[in-house]
């Protein structure tokens, strides 16, 4: 066994154990049983409604919907190297040993992606078989071509990722998705046909194989940006564990070099001690573990669920839309306040937070004020479209006052718990 393979095996075993801990932390056996029970009961209770919805949606639309699912799956995912910061030393020279290590990791990644693809396509094929009489040849063609394309797409994504220059990479990425979605979307139209001609079969197979060969040739020749790859992989992994396990991360290393002057500096914050703590908080939220992208994702997820949930609730007559809006706002505010307040936890071991001369009041004010400001803004952005969709369910002024009160109370609850954890003196 080569030394590189040995390191790789140890690394994968170690990460597997870490992921197991990560998963087991989130899945509590009792909660899982309750959840399955609840889903089962709800499924049984709403069985007729669900079937009615499926019957109501025309088969053509359903077929397109499933095609979109397949298309999204084929274009999704990235190759992971399972790299760590110390690999710059362990796997030196990186262009020889590092590449060997990546080969094992990428093979594992591709294997997992292909297995999931087999599973998803086999299940969805049944729908096309029942509704459109899709033959076994179609199944096999899509299965094989899909697998080949999936590997090519993963390779191409890795190639683009290593392209130097942020903007050049973004442009390449956008173009790639455009071509990939177009190509896959067009190719998947065979799903609604009952059979596939031999010529088409040959064209599909040969064109996917050519794409695969091209992707392999380019990938083998690519110059890998090792430092960025190792940093980003480490940071991503650490961020995931840190966020969901609620632990501070020490392994993280930033690959960010600079920003433009508009985004640098305190701007409107007061030039005093409280302003300093707020500056620290907002910058961590914007660029660090708070992760503005994560907050935006949460925002859109919450907005969509409230809008659809509200429509469902009001049409079912279970509750008034106003009642639903109030309950969901409080619920969302509580969860978001928890997330926003938790950013202070990492400061427990921060030297400057402890060494610099802040009064207890300044610390407590900042701990409460910073998440409250963000929470009010997020809740406003959730409620404005919500009210516009539902033709102002509340008076705008009442909504605004309500949001401020809810934000202050929920952040206060979390801050109270946090301050005792932080042992601030």
């Amino acid at each position: 066994m080569t030394p590189v393979l040995l390191i790789w095996k140890k690394r994968v075993t170690y990460l597997w154990k870490l992921y197991y801990k990560f998963i087991s932390f989130q899945i509590d056996g009792v909660i899982l049983i309750y959840l399955l029970g609840l889903v089962g009961v709800l499924g049984l209770y709403f069985k007729e409604t669900i079937l009615e919805i499926i019957r109501y949606v025309p088969a053509d639309y359903m077929a397109i919907l499933l095609q979109v699912v397949l298309m999204l799956f084929l274009a999704s995912g990235n190759l992971t190297g399972h790299l760590k910061l110390a690999d710059q030393v362990f796997l030196s020279p990186l262009d020889i040993d590092g590449k060997k290590f990546l080969k094992y990791s990428h093979t594992l990644n591709k294997g997992i992606h292909i297995l999931i693809w087999f599973f998803i396509w086999t299940i969805l094929y049944l729908y096309y078989r029942i509704n459109f009489g899709a033959t076994i040849y179609i199944y096999l063609t899509v299965l094989i071509c899909g697998a080949i394309l999936k590997i090519s797409i993963l390779d191409f994504k890795f190639i683009i990722w290593n392209k130097l220059g942020k903007w050049r990479r973004r442009i390449y990425n956008a173009l790639f998705y455009l071509v990939a979605y177009g190509f896959i979307g067009r190719a998947l139209s065979i799903l609604t046909q009952s059979h596939i001609s031999k010529i088409k079969l040959i064209i599909y197979l040969s064109s996917s194989t050519i794409i695969l060969i091209i992707s392999q040739l380019i990938k083998n020749d690519i110059l890998i940006d090792w430092e960025r790859l190792i940093n980003e992989e480490t940071n991503k992994r650490v961020r995931n564990f840190a966020f969901l396990l609620g632990q501070p991360y020490r392994e993280k290393k930033s690959s960010r070099r600079r920003t433009i002057s508009v985004f640098s500096g305190r701007k409107i914050l007061p030039f005093n001690e409280k302003g300093a703590l707020l500056l620290l908080y907002f910058k961590i939220l914007q660029r660090g573990e708070g992760n503005l992208v994560l907050l935006l994702q949460m925002y859109f997820g919450i907005l969509a669920s409230i809008i659809f949930g509200g429509q469902l609730v009001s049409s079912s007559g279970i509750a008034e839309i106003q009642t639903f809006a109030i309950i969901s706002n409080i619920f969302v505010a509580y969860i978001l306040a928890g997330f926003l307040s938790s950013l202070w936890i990492n400061l427990k071991e921060d030297i400057w937070f402890r060494v610099y001369p802040y009064t207890l009041k300044q610390k407590m004010d900042a701990i409460e004020l910073a998440p409250t400001i963000v929470l009010i803004i997020v809740l406003l952005f959730i409620n404005i479209p919500l009210n516009l969709v539902n033709k102002w369910i509340f008076n705008p002024a009442i909504s605004f006052i309500g949001i401020i009160i809810v934000s202050i109370i929920t952040v206060k609850i979390h801050s109270y718990l946090l301050i005792s954890k932080l042992e601030i003196y």
Partner: protein, 244 residues
Amino acid sequence: MNLLNIRSLSGGYDKIKIIKGVSFQVEEGEIVGLIGPNGAGKTTIIKSILGILPLIDGEIKILQYNIKENPLEFKKRIAYVPETPLLYDEMTLLEHLEFTGMSHGVDKDIFTEKTSELLKLFKLEDKLHHFPNSFSKGMKQKVMIMCAFLYDPSIYVIDEPFMGLDPIATRDFIDLIRLKKEEGKGVLMSTHILDTAEKVCDRFILINYGQIEAAGTLDELRKSAEIEHGGLADIYERLAGDSE
């Protein structure tokens, strides 16, 4: 006048005493070098002064302010340059400087003036919107030094200040320390670079096994070590070597 007064200090981790009954002072306009082998307890003394490690015994005062009774006034009068630069991944150089200035209640105009002076001195004017984590070790250390010299403390606690600095930056930093000395500030500097310490420091405290092995000016240390013409390195070798 005593700026920093440490009396019978015992400190360490989890009730395990690493430093035992250490007492010394740093006077106004004085640079004191804290020297000693690895693991002697220098960093523990510094951490105790900063309030990062709780005191097991003894007393630490800056002017009349006791670390236990008046921690806020105590902290206001201290500036710290750590051995390993402690920077935030999420903040640019400008934001680090602003954060420090704001935390110490520096006036905005003075901040602008001092920042431009320090940026010029350490040749970092074009890095203002860069993230210091992309800097070299020496540049990171410069950021830490700039942060410490932005405000007006009574005493500077500096841990291994010359690590990673290029010769010109080292010279500029020494000039800066001397300037502060002339202004009547105190400097407590822990270092292994004995040649430079010999030129910069007025007095030395040799720590070994958590206790003061010897203290005084270079001449006084020579007498303790019974060396007539030796430098600090020779004295260190004799005193630290003898006790091992």
